[in-house]
Amino acid sequence: MVNSDMPKTPLTPPVLAILLSLAGGDKHGYAMMKDARTPEGGAVTMGPGTLYGTLDRLMRDGLVKETGTTDDERRRYYRLTALGRATLAAELERLEGAVKQARVMGLLPKRGRA
C-alpha cells in the first residue's frame, strides 16, 4: 500500500543499501544482502531478519514490490517502484550535499572528477 507519493528521507543504512541494490535490477534476498556488504553497496552487514523486516516495511510503504517471478520456491525477487527510485534519488542528493559541505570544510580530501 502506498502511504505517500512524496519521498521521505533520511533513510536508515539497511533501507539505503536495499534500495541501492534494487536500483541495479530485480534481486532476491541473498543477492541484496551480498550487495549491501560491498563498499559501493553501503558496507552494511545485515542478516535475513533485518533484510526481510525492512523489505516488509518498504513494501507496505510502496517503495518496493515483489516481481512475482521466482527461480526457486524459496527465492522471491523484488523490484524498486517509482516512489522507491525517487526516494533513493532524494537520499543520494541529500548525502551528496553533506559530502560537498564536508569537502568545503576540509573534513574530506578534495577530489577532481575523472
Binding site: H28, G29, Y30, M33, K34, R37, T45, M46, G47, P48, G49, T50, L51, Y52, G53, D56, R57, D72, E73, R74, R75, R76
Partner: protein, 259 residues
C-alpha cells in the same frame, strides 16, 4: 552440503519459529534460503556469518514483535477499550486514596470537638479559665496528646495546655474572626513548618466571652495518609499493568485467530 551446515540450517529454522506468526508465514522460507545461500557463499566466513546471524536474530525478533504489538494496539476498538479501562482505574485509585484519607482526617477531629464543646460550656457557666483547663502541658510539636487552650475575646492567650517552645500560642487572627461570626471552625493549623495541628476552635459566649481551641498533632495520621496514598498508587499501577497485559494478550490472541 556439509553436515554441519545442515545442523546450522536446522537450528536457524527453529529460531525462525520465534518470529510473530504473520512475519513467519510471509518470510520463513525466504529467510531460510538466504541463510542457506550465506552458508554456501565462500566469501562469507562462518564465524562472522554466525555472529551476524545471532545479532540479527536478537535485534529483528524484538523489532518484529514490537511492530506486531504496535499494529495490534493501534486498532481503534482495542485502544479505546484500554483507555476507558485506564480512565476507570485512575478514578478508582483516586477514590481509594480520597475516601480513607477523608475518614482519617475527619476522625482526627473527634476528641477535639468533644473537648472544645465541653470546655466552652464550662466557661459559659462562669468557671474560671484556669480552673476549667486541667493543669498539664503538651508539647504540640512532639506529643500526640490532645490539648486545650483558652483565649479572650481579642484572641489573647488566657491559659492553655498546648505549648510550642515553652509558650502557649494562638492561631492566626483570621481564625478568630471567622469563629466570631460562625461559632466554630475546624482547621489545620501550622504554627511552624513541620508542625501541623488538627484544631477545633469554638466561640465562648456569656459572662466571659472568648474562644477555646482544642488541638492535636497530625503527624501520625498524616503518616497513615501517606501510606494510604502509596497503597492506592501501587493499586493503580497494578491495575494499569493488568490492563496493559490484558490488552497485549488480547491483541496477540485475536491476531492469531484472524489468520
Amino acid at each position: 552440503m556439509k553436515p554441519e551446515y545442515a545442523r546450522l540450517e536446522q537450528w536457524y529454522a527453529r529460531a525462525l519459529g520465534l518470529y510473530p506468526m504473520r512475519f513467519r508465514e510471509a518470510y520463513d522460507e525466504t529467510m531460510a534460503q538466504a541463510f542457506h545461500d550465506a552458508l554456501e557463499d565462500p566469501g562469507w566466513k562462518r564465524g562472522p556469518l554466525l555472529r551476524t546471524t545471532a545479532r540479527d536474530l536478537a535485534v529483528s525478533l524484538g523489532k518484529e514483535w514490537l511492530a506486531m504489538m504496535f499494529s495490534s494496539l493501534t486498532r481503534p476498538a482495542l485502544m479505546f477499550n484500554a483507555l476507558v479501562l485506564a480512565g476507570i482505574s485512575t478514578v478508582l485509585a483516586l477514590f481509594l486514596y480520597a475516601i480513607p484519607q477523608q475518614v482519617l482526617r475527619q476522625s482526627l477531629n473527634d476528641p477535639q470537638i468533644q473537648m472544645a464543646g465541653d470546655l466552652a460550656a464550662k466557661l459559659e457557666t462562669g468557671t474560671a479559665a484556669t480552673e476549667a483547663v486541667a493543669a498539664k502541658k503538651v508539647d504540640m510539636a512532639r506529643s500526640l496528646d490532645a490539648f486545650a487552650n483558652v483565649y479572650d475575646g481579642t484572641g489573647r492567650v488566657l491559659t492553655g495546655q498546648g505549648e510550642l517552645d515553652g509558650h502557649v500560642i494562638g492561631p492566626p487572627q483570621g481564625v478568630f474572626d471567622y469563629v466570631r461570626q460562625h461559632g466554630q471552625e475546624r482547621v489545620t493549623w501550622q504554627p511552624r513548618p513541620g508542625v501541623r495541628i488538627a484544631a477545633v476552635v469554638e466561640r465562648v459566649t456569656g459572662a466571659q466571652t472568648g474562644f477555646v481551641l482544642a488541638g492535636r498533632n497530625m503527624r501520625e495520621v498524616e503518616a497513615r495518609e501517606t501510606h494510604v496514598g502509596q497503597l492506592a498508587g501501587m493499586a493503580w499501577l497494578a491495575m494499569l499493568g493488568l490492563i496493559a497485559s490484558g490488552t497485549l494478550g488480547f491483541a496477540w490472541y485475536t491476531e492469531r485467530r484472524a489468520r
